[in-house]
């Protein structure tokens, strides 16, 4: 028994020594140079940027880059905490069009327009106008887009052919529902359509909101009265829930973008309405069994002529950063035309971060690699108008989300109700009744502010 402690102690000492060495190695190597700490979302396109960082470091001697790469939810929470409290860990952060304008208004982000104007050859007029607009506050850009996305409808051309069906050029949601009913084949394990059902404001609410807008629904009227129990909202929610329950994927209430993407790429869904960024997985032979078998149609519509959304991952500089010039050097490198060319040549043209610059769509190599989807993607992004989502006036901006700080919480609660309705735990009416109460609480706060 007495021999118990020494081996354990030896083990501890040994590992401590090892950890001491490794710990020392974790410190920045050079003390004269600048180390930029950059928080990014761990998506494939960002990983490509991480692996290309040595090119940036070669062009900018004395500057080294350290990335903090986290999944979307963790990254968003961490970046928000850091920026809001002035934690100051980061010299640049990856945010979206949801945060940019709000944070610019609070003074949390550095105005990038002076840097943009002073950088030769950084053609900011080349950014797609809807995206440029959505990242600007009082006419100045506060973050620069790394890639942009809208939504469209992917469908399996081979399955359509087999069933003798045809996808209309501009499908309506009713047509999509009919097609889904025809193609739904539970025995073969192929769902008619894959639509997100997972709770979370960035999950089920993104496609649902774009559908809601085209159904003529809205979250609030101009006076911040919640409209979640209005007939239009009920119709949209009922349609979405019925479609997923009847002809959607199994277990839809737990299935978000990642799961749908996986199902569609593995041939287990005939249609998939979601982010245009799906193509980097769907058309990648390493991760997909349906490469080259998809057609892409514009986002389905009902009342209005546009049914898509607008989202972008962009880079901003926190006001607390002590290395703003170096941070801008990095931002401009990662969002420049040259970067797109580098990725295309090093990793292949299907892997370039699309949808931030108009010029990308004119590169012949990109046109060739992305022929099937480049058109509908650009069209979806260009036509998005976050200032006027839907068919009726609203007091907020944003398509897939409402660009108000309360939306993270409100959206999460409402999405939980919607997801519960998809799971069949509550009826659509019950879900909306509850959601209406949540939304009105937020609306009341804005009413008082307006008074």
């Amino acid at each position: 028994m007495r021999t118990t402690l020494p081996p354990l102690a030896a083990l501890c000492t040994g590992t401590l020594l090892l950890s001491g060495c490794a710990g020392a190695g974790a410190l920045p190597a050079g003390t004269d140079g600048t180390t930029l700490v950059i928080a990014i979302v761990a998506n494939p396109q960002m990983q490509d940027a991480v692996s290309l960082q040595s090119e940036f470091e070669a062009e900018n001697p004395g500057v080294s880059v350290k990335f903090v790469s986290l999944p979307e939810n963790e990254a968003r929470a961490k970046i928000t905490t850091s920026i809001a409290t002035g934690g100051g860990e980061f010299d640049a952060v990856m945010i979206s069009n949801y945060e940019t304008r709000q944070w610019a208004g609070y003074g949390w982000l550095e105005n990038l327009q002076p840097y943009i104007d002073a950088t030769d050859g950084y053609d900011d007029a080349d950014f797609i106008p809807s995206i440029r607009e959505d990242l600007s506050h009082e006419g100045d850009m506060y973050s620069v887009p790394f890639y942009g996305e809208s939504s469209f409808l992917a469908y399996r051309t081979d399955l359509f052919e087999e069933a003798g069906l045809e996808m209309p050029e501009n499908p309506t949601w009713d047509e999509v529902a009919e097609l889904a009913a025809e193609l739904d084949d539970p025995e073969a394990g192929v769902a008619g359509v894959c639509l997100r059902g997972l709770a979370g404001w960035g999950e089920v609410l993104a496609p649902f909101n774009s559908l809601l807008n085209t159904f003529g629904g809205r979250w609030y009227d101009e006076d911040w009265n919640a409209q979640l129990d209005s007939p239009e909202f009920r119709e949209a929610a009922g349609f979405y829930v019925d479609l997923v329950r009847e002809h959607g994927q199994a277990g839809a209430a737990n299935s978000g973008f990642g799961d749908c993407l996986n199902r569609y790429s593995q041939g287990r869904a005939a249609m998939f309405y979601d982010s245009t960024s799906m193509v980097s997985t769907v058309e990648d032979p390493d991760s997909s069994t349906v490469v080259g078998l998809s057609g892409y149609a514009p986002a389905p519509v009902a009342e209005s002529g546009y049914g898509g959304w607008l989202y972008t991952w962009s880079l901003g500089i926190p006001a607390t950063s002590e290395h703003k010039d170096e941070a801008w050097a990095f931002l401009s490198w990662m969002t420049d035309k040259d970067y797109i060319r580098t990725v295309g040549e090093e990793y292949g043209w299907q892997r370039v971060p699309p949808g931030n610059r108009l010029s990308t769509f004119e590169i012949p190599e990109y046109q060739e690699a992305a022929g099937a989807y480049a058109g509908p993607m650009l069209q979806g992004i260009e036509n998005a108008d976050p200032e006027n989502p839907g068919t009726r006036p609203v007091p907020y901006t944003g398509i897939g989300f409402l660009a108000i700080p309360e939306f993270q919480d409100l959206g999460t609660r409402v999405s939980q109700q919607l997801s519960a309705a998809i799971a069949g735990r509550v009826t659509v009416d019950e879900a909306l009744e509850q959601s209406q109460r949540y939304a009105q609480t937020v609306g009341d706060a804005y009413k008082e502010e307006d008074r």
């Binding site: 950890s19 761990a42 999944p71």
Partner: protein, 299 residues
């Protein structure tokens, strides 16, 4: 006088006192069938519990495409690609940080916890029960409720992204549990050997170190391992309070989760590597652990 001499070797006692089975055939056969059924059931339950870990390790050797199939693939061409990817993404600094935070905090917990548990078990005072309750009550507040104050405090003290912040927090996080565990082990030590040692003239440090600790070694080892596992796996504080310098292995691991594209195989490889150190430590201390973990439970 050594501790071994004082503790009665009672492990052999039950075997000696068990009555020999009656020499009739029927009960013995029934016993054999029962034993076989019990063994089968034990194996089945063990397999059920181990299978997720095995599946994780298996997935780590797959290509992303193989890892995402439905139905899942059991046979495939194994590859080390995922491990290469993980090791190529600067794994060692994270490993160093995790080892530092885990080992230092466990050491601190034992340094603080052993005297505290001694005082609370061997020399109780009037308020001992209250003190014990106070210790455990610190675990009742959900950590999410304190993370923002902690973050702001760390930021003001310029301690963000600093491994010492995690060492301090992990020590505080594990100390209550360690005191409770250690206390139950102290209570197991027969009073007679403490009194005997005192009568021979041993002072408190001597009693603690030379008399009690050897008896309690399995208990201390079990407590240390529990603290190590908790610190090693801790994610929430680590992800919120660290960035590029002090990030630990769990934070490194989630970097492989992406909302676009496949990541199961990569994540499985990272998770397999991340769990190896704890598995090795557990394996090394296996015999002590089994004794230690059953020590407080069976009287």
């Amino acid at each position: 006088m050594t501790a071994e001499a004082l503790v009665k070797p009672d492990a052999a006692a039950p075997r000696a006192t068990r009555a020999p089975a009656p020499p009739t055939a029927r009960p013995r056969r029934r016993g054999a069938v029962g034993a076989a059924a019990l063994t089968t059931a034990t194996w089945a339950i063990a397999l059920v519990f181990v299978s997720p870990a095995l599946w994780l390790a298996l997935t780590a050797f797959k290509q992303e495409g193989d890892a995402a199939t439905d139905p899942p693939k059991l046979f495939f061409e194994p590859t080390l690609d995922q491990f290469r990817t993980v090791l190529a993404s600067d794994f060692l600094p994270y490993l160093g940080n995790s080892l530092t935070a885990t080992l230092l905090s466990t050491l601190l917990v034992l340094l603080l916890g052993v005297p505290a548990a001694y005082a609370l078990s061997i020399r109780p005072v009037r308020r001992t029960q209250d003190v014990l309750f106070f210790f455990i009550s610190t675990k009742m507040l959900p950590v999410v409720a304190v993370v923002v104050p902690l973050y702001v405090a760390a930021a003001r003290l310029s301690m963000l992204d600093n491994i010492w912040t995690l060492v301090v927090l992990y020590t505080a996080m594990n100390l209550p549990i360690a005191v409770w565990m250690l206390r139950s082990f102290f209570l197991e030590v027969p009073r007679s050997i403490i009194e005997a040692a005192s009568m021979e003239g041993a002072g408190l440090p001597r009693v603690l170190w030379s008399v009690m600790l050897p008896v309690m070694a399995p208990g201390v080892a079990a407590t240390a391992l529990i603290c190590m596992i908790f610190s090693w796996n801790e994610f929430f504080l680590a992800v919120n309070l660290t960035a590029s310098q002090a990030a630990t292995v769990p934070v490194f691991m989630v970097g492989f989760i992406t909302s676009e594209g496949l990541f199961w195989a990569q994540l499985a490889a990272a998770a397999t590597l991340a769990s190896l150190p704890i598995v090795v430590i557990g394996w090394t201390a296996q015999r002590q652990l089994v004794r230690g973990l059953s020590m407080g439970a069976v009287k």
